[in-house]
């Protein structure tokens, strides 16, 4: 299925996705959108893993398993993060990241 498409295309696509995530992480104020940006980043990494696995080391399974674990970690991370976000919302009645700066100094 992937014949005719160079590996670099996948990588470039993942890069764009990754930096879109980075941009979102840096600019969004809502904690949930920040979380979504993180998901984007993780996703782009997954693409890389799978692409490398398929193109460079097709006889191995490391890339795929790594992706599986990344997804598992992402899922648990999302669960915990959302729990935290909800808790923060309860305490501060906001999920604006700039208002949550108790950890300064």
């Amino acid at each position: 299925m992937s014949s005719g498409i160079p590996l670099q295309y996948f990588l470039i696509l993942a890069t764009i996705m990754f930096f879109a995530g980075v941009y979102g992480f840096l600019t969004r104020r809502n904690l949930i959108t920040i979380l979504m940006s993180v998901e984007l980043i993780l996703n782009s990494v997954n693409i890389n893993f799978l692409a490398f696995n398929r193109y460079l080391f097709p006889h191995k399974l490391e890339g795929m398993f790594f992706s599986i674990f990344v997804i598992a970690v992402a899922a648990s991370e999302a669960a915990v993060a959302i729990a935290i976000i909800i808790n923060i919302y309860r305490r501060f009645t906001t999920i604006n990241v700039e208002d949550v700066n108790e950890m300064k100094y």
Binding site: V22, V100, K104, Y105
Partner: protein, 639 residues
Amino acid sequence: MINFSYTIWIPLLPLLMFLFLGLAGHKYFPKLSGIIGTCGLAIITILSYITAYKYFFTSEKIDGAFQKLTAFNMVWLQFTDKLHIDMGVLLDPISVMMLVVITTVSLMVHIYSLGYMKGEKGFERFFAFLSLFSFSMLGLVLATNIFQMYIFWELVGVSSFLLIGFYYQKPSAVRASKKAFIVTRFADLGFLIGILILSFNTKTFDFITLTNPTGTAITQGGGAAFLGLSIMTWSMIFVFMGGVGKSAMFPFHIWLPDAMEGPTPVSALIHAATMVVAGVYLVARMFPIYSIAAPVALEVVAYVGAFSSLFAAVIACTQTDIKRVLAYSTMSQIGYMMLALGVSGYGGHEGLGYMASMFHLFTHAMFKALLFLGAGAIIHAVHTNHMTEMGGLRKYLPITHMTFLIACLTIAGIPPLSGFFSKDEILAAAFEHNKILFAVEYAVAGLTAFYMFRLYFSIFWGKETQYHHTPHEAPYTMTIPLMILAFGAIVAGFIPFNKLVTSDGKAFESEIELMIAIPSVLIGLLGIGIAYIMYKKENAIPDKLATTFKYSYKWAYNKFYMDEVYLFVTKKIIFRYISDPVAWFDRHVVDATMNGIATVTQTVSFRIRGLQSGQLQKYAFVFVTGAIMLAVLLVYLWK
């Protein structure tokens, strides 16, 4: 060889007395401590006399010279192989002579104090301090090495401090004691530096090695020249500085008149007869070095002595406090001794000045102690120090009067009293070496006779003063020492010093030279005559003279403002221009720098803590930027 090892007990006994009286006296036997102290001193006096007899008359002479014997010696503190402080007993003519002087005067003072200090608060403390002083002074004269001498030198200084400040609740006494200590301490600094230089050059402290006229110390210890004088000369000048301080020579004399704030027996013992002649003794002890290796230093000795004697004599003529008159007189007489040493040569008849100096030291101790104790008796009777408040006392105090008169005649140099002989020897020595100094000393002899009889006439004759209560003669404990000392003052002149105490230990011939003796006696009589005219009866001559020579009188009366000069140096320069700025500098520069470092650190950390804003995205931004920069750096730039 006679065994002299028992002499170690001569200084040790007073030390034990001091510890005993000082620690236990106050609690257990405050009344008895005077007797105990006196008995202890009587024992060592007897020991000293025995030693003197054995040394001078039975010990073996080699080549006709008295030998320097080390009766006892132990290492007290080892510095290097060659340099070590020993504690020991050195017997030679001058130390034995000093033993006799010190124990005699000290015993007299002890007995006298039994009466004088009776009922005073701190009676036992007084005797404890006297014992401490006797210990230190004996240790000083018996020292086998220069460092031992320095140790006891400091100890006599501190005992003097303690005794001057005996009435510690009297501010003037406290001030005087402080002054005495600090001034002599400053002089001792010179002494110490002198010792350091000397020991560096000669690698020894030991007197016998140092003063051996043919030893390496003298012949090769000269060292390089510095400012035109050899190192040896410098070191001897520094050593002499110590002597200047202790002997109250110009310019370190200022403590001595103030020291009269102490109890009168103390003035007699320490500030007239014994401690103040330590400077003379020091020069005499080091005499071979001065004479052979450092003649320039010896000249300094002579001029300092001569100037001090004249200077003090002039001031003495104007003072009204009898103890201060005596103090200046002491200074003047010690100047004589210094001068005599300064003009002396080494060996044989050349050493006439040396002999004369020691001779005068001996006789001076007798008559000056007598004068002070007499003055004490007078003060005891009339409760004042000022001669303007006295007069006509001869009727009330017959014994004191007679002994005081004898003392005055002695110091004025009237034959056949002892002062005549010793002073004559000094003048003869000066005549042989330096005519100018000789002339100065003639003048001083006249002045001496004048101010002593001014004192005498003002106290015992003069106006008939009314007293609150009739003065009465002192108790026997006080008059007996006076009589003994008077006897000493009369006969001491007949001791053949030229046979006993000479610069090289060998006897030489000397006789009274009439050409010098007769004019000196005449000058003495002239001084007495002037004093007779001015003070025998109350009259206006002294006041008239004072107004005629208003300014010079005022200068002399104010001791040529030496005290003020010193006060200026200490108060203004040391306190205001050194110490205060140092303290200020310490607080506001050194400490402020340290505090400044702390403040800067604090400020910087307060500034940079702003980076820790708690803004998640700022951290992330910095992180991403950093990562990118690192990537650029590592991938593209670092190749």
